[in-house]
């Protein structure tokens, strides 16, 4: 089975969020970048489990500059066989999806897997856009994925219900919590990652369809109102009379 996993390079979950250039760009100074957790914990690890059970290859693809190489090596250390980086700034979801689709269109991947969203832009857009550009079926928000022969079975959360769906490969899947458990790369994996192939490809030209013109930070929260534990029931009253939410 040939699997392609989309890997995004994002600020660490605890990174400070601030902006520069008149609030038009994310301030990366002092920020550690990581593999997008949904891409890593759920998509990549499940792809590796499927490969280990059934044979095949796991390739990762990232759209980004050379600054993303350390993040890509981390995905290789976890166990991907090889990696592709399309050398372009990932400024617009369509532009990213277009680069991935242009790369994947003649490679014959059985499965293309991505996290359900990135933790920086939170768009949930690239996976389904790739599916549309390649005219493939797409299973969103999968919490479980199994493959038997050329048939994939997935479970997905829809409005709290669990929907069990079936589709023939090739298929694009976005992965959510439940899909797999996090893997910590071991020393052997980290050493092996140094020599695994990371191919850098030039971007195919495309026009961005959107532009992020300005960032804003939410207004600061008002000070918390403390209620003594002895008088805890007072909270219910305040939620009604003051906060007006019950």
């Amino acid at each position: 089975m040939k699997i392609l996993v989309l890997i995004s390079h994002v600020p660490d979950t605890t990174a400070r969020i601030g902006f520069t250039n008149d609030n038009t760009a994310y301030d990366t100074s002092g920020v550690t970048f990581i593999v997008n957790p949904y891409d890593e914990w759920y998509a990549l690890v499940r792809a590796l489990e499927l490969k280990e059970a059934q044979g095949g290859t796991v390739t990762t693809i990232t759209v980004g500059g050379a600054d993303t190489d350390a993040t890509i090596r981390k995905a290789l250390a976890i166990g991907a066989d090889d990696a592709v980086r399309v050398d372009a700034r990932p400024n617009d979801s369509y532009a990213v999806a277009f680069q991935v689709a242009e790369y994947a269109k003649d490679k014959g991947y059985d499965l293309i897997m991505a996290g359900k969203e990135t933790i920086d832009h939170n768009g949930s857009q690239v996976g389904p856009m790739v599916a549309e550009l390649l005219e493939l079926p797409f299973v969103s928000l999968a919490t479980k994925l199994d493959v038997s022969g050329t048939t994939a079975t997935a479970e997905r959360d829809v409005k709290g219900d669990v929907e069990v769906v079936e589709a023939s490969l090739p298929l694009v899947v976005s992965c959510a919590k439940g899909m797999a458990e996090q893997r910590i790369p071991n020393m052997r994996g980290i050493m092996a990652a140094r020599t695994k192939p990371l191919t850098v490809l030039p971007a195919v030209s495309s026009e961005p369809l959107t532009e992020t013109v300005r960032f804003e930070l939410p207004p600061p929260k008002q000070a918390v109102k403390m209620i003594p534990a002895d008088d805890a029931g007072k909270l219910i009253e305040l939620l009604h009379t003051e906060a007006k939410v019950i």
Binding site: Y38, I119, P137, V158, G160, T210, E216, E237
Partner: protein, 317 residues
């Protein structure tokens, strides 16, 4: 230029998120001076939908939410016939999968998870959450056709009036490539992403056997239950209850967190909540900084008091 709204309106009771999306669509149509066509599928109750203040309702009875290619063909076909300027979705399981497909097919820019109406003063800009709600961004759409998916609980529902024409879609959507084998109902209650009130608990509860009082408080407040990541990882509670950066992101009117310290990753999933109440035995718990109301105390003493107060409140209304 008309406005197309695709909403999941299955079931006898139309979901609040769908009504919000229709409201958003009507407001965009008012801005642009056009009419709204509501596109829907499955067993959607067309009589009810016809009274929502839209001009037309088109329903594809055979389409399912699982096959996003069929829904994409449906929306693209209707958008072409109606000369759509803006196509609007709910940013839910269906919209997250179909809106990007439609955008890619039409080469239209998409704003995913919009929290405001478009600002059309010199361009077309819409605000959305980024960095898991820790910041917001104004995104400008540069293509002639605009695609927007609206984040649930972002705008209040305004009931419309009038009588729409109702049409059963008869076009060819192609063969379904994804089939639904089974649907396991989650049981009663409002699913987390749509919940207006959420009662959530963490490791401070000490064990899964202590969740009875959490469920009881949730029941009294007509709320949905949730949990922190460690609790889901230890299998004290099911994964779908995990709220936070790597679980479900929610934005209810009321979020009550019990025995949750408030790690930054947890806050990222709940910081869109209108009112946050934190109950924790540790006065230094970081969650208090993000809270509107706080109680320092033992959950096993505080929660029964809250249940009692909620019960009294309910009986007096």
């Amino acid at each position: 230029m008309s406005v197309i709204v695709l909403a999941d309106t299955r079931g006898a009771k139309v979901a609040k998120a769908a009504l919000e999306t229709v409201t958003y669509g009507r407001k965009v149509a008012e801005q642009a001076g056009g009419t709204v066509t509501l596109v829907t599928f499955g067993d959607a109750p067309t009589d009810r939908l016809a009274g929502l203040g839209v001009a037309k309702v088109i329903v594809a009875r055979s389409a399912s939410d699982a096959d996003t290619q069929q829904l994409t063909r449906l929306v693209v076909d209707v958008a072409g016939k109606e000369n759509a300027g803006t196509i609007i979705f709910t940013h839910d399981a269906t919209g997250k999968a179909v809106a990007p497909r439609v955008a890619a097919r039409l080469k239209a820019g998409q704003v995913a998870g919009a929290i405001t109406l478009p600002d059309t003063d010199g361009g077309f800009k819409v605000k959305r959450n980024v960095f898991s709600g820790k910041a917001q961004a104004w995104v400008e759409v540069k293509s002639p056709v605009k695609v927007i998916s609206v984040l649930p609980n972002s705008i209040p529902v305004e009931e419309g009036s009038g009588t729409a024409t109702v049409e059963e879609y008869s076009g060819d959507l192609g063969a379904a490539r994804i089939t639904v084998k089974e649907v396991r109902k989650a049981g009663e209650g409002v699913p987390l992403p749509e919940a207006e009130r959420v009662v959530s608990a963490g490791r401070g509860l000490k064990g899964p056997e202590n969740w009875g009082m959490i469920e009881e408080l949730a029941k009294e407040l007509n709320a949905t239950t949730a949990c922190s990541r460690p609790v889901a990882d230890m299998h004290w509670r099911p994964h779908h209850e995990h709220v936070g950066q790597t679980g479900v992101a929610i934005r209810p009117n009321l979020y009550i967190a019990i025995g949750i310290s408030g790690a930054i990753q947890h806050l990222a999933g709940v910081n869109g909540s209108k009112v946050i109440c934190v109950i924790n035995s540790d006065p230094e718990a970081p969650f208090f900084k993000a809270a509107d109301y706080g109680i320092v105390g033992d959950a096993f003493i505080v929660v029964p008091k809250l249940i009692e107060a909620a019960r009294k409140f309910n009986s007096e209304r």
